[in-house]
């Protein structure tokens, strides 16, 4: 497989800057490419990339491929796949890294399908096997109950999407040198079959779940949308956000956008209060990064107590009002 060399990061931009996940990818990408003794490149796609190429170099990229096109202004699966696939066929990277974001989740498998590589999604850690020089990707399986290590022996590129906030971001170094290379190939608009008709932003009341310092989550045990009011009240007192497990979202008690877990949002607040949820691994996977986890559950055998730092074994309906009232009193003092 000597034909394929180097690590290629697929960058994402947010509000004119490199997205945090991209800086994280550059960090891990740098490590991997140093171990292999190969170069680290990054692909930036957009209508205007400005000085972000230099930014990427400062964060560790040796080469920056910049594809600028009006059609790349927003993420479009067909357009991005086309550009990235063409670049891969040209530069033949050995490893390709993407963020496990809504872009990466869509782009990575398509790219993989087109290139015939070997992809691991939602990786928690990446390393290089010292003897085979192959990429070892560790990812959760069975809803987080187990971790699998995945290897691509012959397929190239070896691809991985990495969960945000799992690896440390790269350190910025202004003095780093690198090369910004414009991607010359023009996009073929006829290959863009999927059209974006609309983008709807769902306004979240109060603090955004991902940014909240405190998250109060409820599960199936809450019983009704109305009862979630108690959680909302507690979150309000603590200046936090409300989340829910998949069953709670399925029931419509909390909006789907507030789902915490492997197939929803991954949060890492200072304090995570898990109310009346048993703690399925797929849910815990979404909150394990929290500094403190508090569990309130009737059932003392609930799995959530295995990961919680504090717990109360009781019916949440009898706990939350007093907890909220007392916290309100303590915090206003």
């Amino acid at each position: 497989m000597d034909t394929h060399k180097g690590v290629l990061v697929c960058g994402e931009m947010a509000e004119g800057r490199l997205a945090p996940i991209t800086i994280e990818l550059l960090g891990i990408g740098r490590k991997l490419s140093d171990q292999l003794g190969e170069t680290l490149s990054i692909l930036l796609m957009g209508s205007k990339t400005g000085s972000l190429g230099q930014e990427a170099i400062a964060y560790g990229a040796d080469k920056v491929y910049v594809a600028e096109d009006g059609l790349l202004d927003h993420y479009n699966s067909d357009a991005y796949t086309q550009v990235a696939a063409n670049l891969c066929l040209k530069v033949l990277p050995s490893i390709m890294l993407l963020g496990h974001t809504d872009i990466g989740c869509d782009l990575a498998p398509r790219l993989n399908g087109r290139l015939g590589g070997g992809l691991s999604m939602d990786c928690l850690s990446l390393s290089i096997d010292p003897t085979t020089q192959l990429l070892l990707a560790t990812r959760p399986v069975f809803g987080g109950n187990a971790h699998a290590t995945v290897v691509s022996r012959s397929a190239r590129p070896q691809m991985a999407t990495i969960r945000p906030k799992i690896v440390p971001p790269a350190v910025r170094n202004e003095s780093r040198q690198g090369e910004v290379i414009p991607v010359e190939d023009k996009l073929d608009p006829s290959a863009i079959k999927v059209k974006v008709v609309d983008r709807i932003k769902e306004e979240v009341e109060g603090v955004k779940l991902e940014d909240a310092e405190v998250v109060v989550s409820g599960g199936r045990g809450i019983g009704s949308a109305q009862n979630f009011g108690m959680l909302r009240e507690l979150a309000r007192v603590l200046g936090g956000a409300v989340g829910g497990t998949r069953p709670a979202c399925d029931e419509g008690w909390v909006p789907a956008s507030a789902q915490v877990g492997q197939s929803g949002k991954v949060v890492s607040p200072k304090l995570y209060i898990a109310v009346a949820l048993s703690g399925a691994m797929s849910h815990i996977a979404g909150c394990l990064g929290s500094k403190y986890i508090v569990a309130i559950n009737k059932d003392k055998e609930a799995n959530i107590f295995n990961v919680a730092h504090f717990g109360i074994v009781a019916d949440y309906k009898e706990v939350l009002p007093a907890l909220t009232a007392k916290l309100k009193e303590l915090l206003s003092a």
Partner: protein, 264 residues
């Protein structure tokens, strides 16, 4: 309109973590006895999505499932929800395939069925959760794909999909046929009822082997797999949980509040 839905049978995702056992050598999960496998949650929602389209636009739903054992159970479940026809893909050559192998077999079966307008898959399987079969399948079939759908409609000749993104959703349109992968946000699957429930009990579910769908066995050669699982482990993460108590739940709550106020 003709929708083909790909479904998978998986070990029950609600197995208690304490009961979750693996065989690290064989890299397999050992399901606890007495816990029957279920239809993968996202796939069940894909069936639901297909049924909703059928409710609105009529047409036909075909369900396919690859696997071994009593896979026909999940196909029958889909039939009882409202699918019209179902096939099981079972062959020794289909065992332990990676995402490419799976997509290849499903693609062959879909081509054999033919005449479809839409292919639906779950966003990922509830077991290995690779999350890529739908996209690879679309590349193989040479048709567009939209992932993470939380709503699907038909608008004239196009399929219009709401796709989840982190701060809301996008509305995308693609010509038919297309592949769409469905996320759980699409809504709760229906409880099998009515006529479909009665019909599903009697329905024949043919089993297709590699040769029935014209699959090239060399494509399924395990030595050429794109990915391989080389390790499987159960992460240990046991925190010492301090149970806060009190004479009443009320008192316990107050004690907890005192502790928490010092942390934040």
């Amino acid at each position: 309109m003709h929708t083909i839905v790909c479904v998978k049978q998986v070990p029950d995702p609600e197995i208690p973590p304490a009961k979750f056992k693996i065989d690290p050598e064989a890299k397999k999960v050992i399901p606890p006895p007495g816990v029957p496998p279920v239809i993968s949650v996202y796939d069940e929602r894909a069936v639901e999505a297909a049924c909703r389209l059928k409710d609105k636009h009529k047409g036909k739903i075909t369900v396919i499932s690859m696997g071994t054992g009593k896979v026909s159970d999940v196909v029958r479940h889909a039939l009882s929800m409202g699918a019209d026809e179902g096939f099981v893909l079972e062959d020794e050559a289909f065992e332990n395939l990676d995402s490419f192998g799976t997509a290849y077999v499903l693609g062959k079966a879909i081509q054999k069925i033919g005449g479809y307008d839409l292919v639906l898959c779950g966003r990922q399987a509830a077991d290995w959760g690779a999350g890529q079969v739908g996209s690879i399948l679309a590349e193989m079939l040479g048709i567009p794909v939209i992932t993470l759908a939380c709503g699907i409609e038909v608008v004239e000749k196009n399929i219009r999909v709401k796709r989840i993104v982190k701060d809301g959703y996008e509305v995308l349109e693609a010509p038919m046929p297309s592949v769409v992968t469905v996320s759980s946000e699409i809504g709760l699957p229906r409880l099998p009822a009515g006529m479909s429930l009665m019909l599903a009990r009697k329905k024949q579910i043919p089993v297709w082997k590699a040769k029935d769908i014209g699959a090239d066995l060399s494509e399924l050669d395990r030595t050429k797999a794109h990915t391989e699982i080389t390790g499987l482990s159960v992460p240990t993460r046991k925190t010492e949980c301090e149970i806060v108590t009190g004479n009443t739940p009320n008192e316990a709550a107050v004690n907890l509040a005192l502790k928490l106020s010092k942390l934040i």
